[in-house]
């Protein structure tokens, strides 16, 4: 089952630190789901750089969901 990181309500950079720790442990093809209060543009830059695949959605309740898959 995919790991879910609920980083809502945390002060920056804690959400960033949590997700970086989680994705560091992923094996190729494995993924995590990240829940946030807002779109994490700086994180996307790092995911792009390190070739992670990701998809972001804004739910109707305003929560941002990001699915990240390790390269």
């Amino acid at each position: 089952m995919k790991q879910v990181i609920d980083a809502r309500g945390l002060e920056p950079p804690q959400p960033f630190e949590l997700v970086m720790e989680a994705i560091a442990d992923l094996r190729p093809g494995e993924g995590v789901k990240l829940l946030l209060d807002r779109m994490p543009y700086p994180l996307f830059r790092i995911l792009d750089r390190d070739r992670y695949r990701y998809e972001s959605r804004v739910r109707d309740d305003g929560v941002v969901e990001i699915d990240i898959v390790a390269p």
């Binding site: 309500g9 945390l10 002060e11 920056p12 950079p13 960033f16 970086m20 209060d37 807002r38 779109m39 543009y41 700086p42 996307f44 830059r45 790092i46 792009d48 750089r49 998809e55 972001s56 959605r57 804004v58 739910r59 109707d60 305003g62």
Partner: protein, 421 residues
């Protein structure tokens, strides 16, 4: 459910740490210069119209506030709105130099009544605003208009553009190059600079930064959806009333604008009471002071309409500029600068120190205390008219901005050490 597709292009050009930092480190120098003016021209608080008061106001509003606001926008646009300013380094270089030389020329021109310096300021600040607004507008062109922050940032840029155009017209009126009714243009310039530019930018930033860093619930959706729209509409209607000379309508719309500003300040204070922090941190304290000063400043504006005395506009100016905007900006800076240092270190693949190590609480508290004391002494100076108190306020203002500069340099020092480790 809304899917956000291909965002990579919009943050490809995220700025280097030095891009916003050069503005953040220049701003306190203009703040300290405001203290020097108070020290050596102690009779300037007698009225908002004295040359010294005009120079002082622009050292704070343009030299300090706008430097930080422009610097922050280079960062906020890509990080918060996903909108990158093209060729950010080159644009930042032009805007930074243009703003610094333009504000120096403007304040000297206003203080000394020198037409050549005023004309130079028109050219320098005209180029600066033109370059920045075109570049920022280009960056924002693809961001979603439906989201409150990117939409309100657009409004703020438009407001700054109008305020700057009116300011340049004023400088040309004062230098004898343009013939327009001075009092009307001043009124419009103040309204648009205060609410159309700075107020809208503060609100658009607060929608994101207050919940994010002060761990509060989000602002009510109705407020973020309609506040900027209503404020812009009221500003346009108020401007029309000013131009048409409908003084009663102008007064009613001024009260409406004050009520909108008050609603923003009160909502922010109420959100802070619901923060998940058990003890308010320095930024929360700064915002509490800022919003309280905004409300007190609004009451002084209402009093200025009711009672014809020079002290009310001066008190309003001190409370709104120094107490409101400067305090809120400083509160945000103490979150944004260490966060950026941390982010740039992390993005470079380095082990970033804890945020508290990058920016310890103790020196921030010292600075905020110095700032609050300077504010109180400035208010006493305006009320008493005592030369000694004005000079004391000048020394305190120099001290507070010196402490801010030292604290920002401390973050830069910690960043450099971490980078070289």
């Amino acid at each position: 459910m809304t899917t956000t597709a291909d965002l990579s292009l919009s943050y490809e050009a995220a700025p280097t740490f030095s891009t916003p930092l050069r503005f953040f480190l220049t701003a306190p120098l203009f703040g300290a210069l405001a203290g020097v003016v108070l020290l050596f021209v102690p009779d300037l608080l007698g009225s908002r119209w004295t040359p010294g008061a005009l120079a002082l106001t622009h050292l704070i509003a343009v030299g300090f506030m706008l430097n930080i606001m422009f610097g922050a926008l280079f960062q906020i646009l890509p990080v918060v709105a996903g909108a990158a300013i093209p060729n950010a380094r080159i644009v930042a270089g032009i805007v930074h130099v243009g703003l610094a030389t333009g504000v120096a020329s403007l304040t000297w021109g206003l203080g000394a009544g020198s037409p050549p310096f005023l004309n130079a300021a028109v050219v320098l600040l005209g180029i600066t605003f033109g370059v920045f607004l075109v570049a920022a507008g280009y960056g924002l062109r693809r961001t979603p208009i439906a989201q409150a922050t990117p939409r309100d940032l657009r409004f703020a840029l438009l407001g700054f553009g109008i305020a700057a155009t009116l300011g340049m017209a004023l400088a040309m009126i004062l230098s004898g190059g343009l013939s327009l009714p001075l009092a009307t243009v001043v009124k419009l310039h103040v309204g648009w600079a205060w609410l159309g530019g700075s107020g809208l930018l503060l609100a658009a930033t607060s929608w994101v930064v207050v919940p994010m860093f002060q761990i509060t619930p989000n602002y009510p959706a109705r407020l973020t959806r309609y506040w900027a729209l209503l404020t812009c509409a009221a500003l346009v209607a108020w401007s029309a009333a000013v131009l048409a000379g409908f003084s009663l309508l102008e007064f009613i719309l001024a009260i409406a604008l004050a009520a909108l500003s008050g609603a923003f300040a009160i909502t922010t204070l109420r959100l802070q009471t619901r923060s998940r922090r058990s003890v308010p941190d320095n930024t929360t304290r700064a915002f509490q002071l800022a919003m309280s000063c905004m409300i007190a400043g609004l009451l002084c504006i209402v009093a200025a309409h009711r009672f014809d005395h020079d002290v009310w506009p001066v008190l309003a100016g001190i409370l709104i500029l120094h107490g409101g905007f400067v305090t809120a900006i400083v509160g945000m800076l103490y979150k944004i600068v260490p966060f950026l240092a941390w982010l740039h270190l992390s993005q470079a693949g380095m082990k970033a120190p804890n945020m508290k190590k990058l920016q310890p609480d103790g020196p921030i508290r010292k600075h905020l205390i110095a700032h609050a004391v300077a504010l109180a002494v400035l208010l006493i100076a305006a009320l008493s008219g005592s030369t000694l108190v004005v000079r004391t306020a000048g020394v305190l203002v120099m001290l507070e901005f010196g402490l801010l500069f030292a604290n920002l340099m401390r973050v830069l020092g910690a960043y450099r050490i971490a980078r070289s480790a």
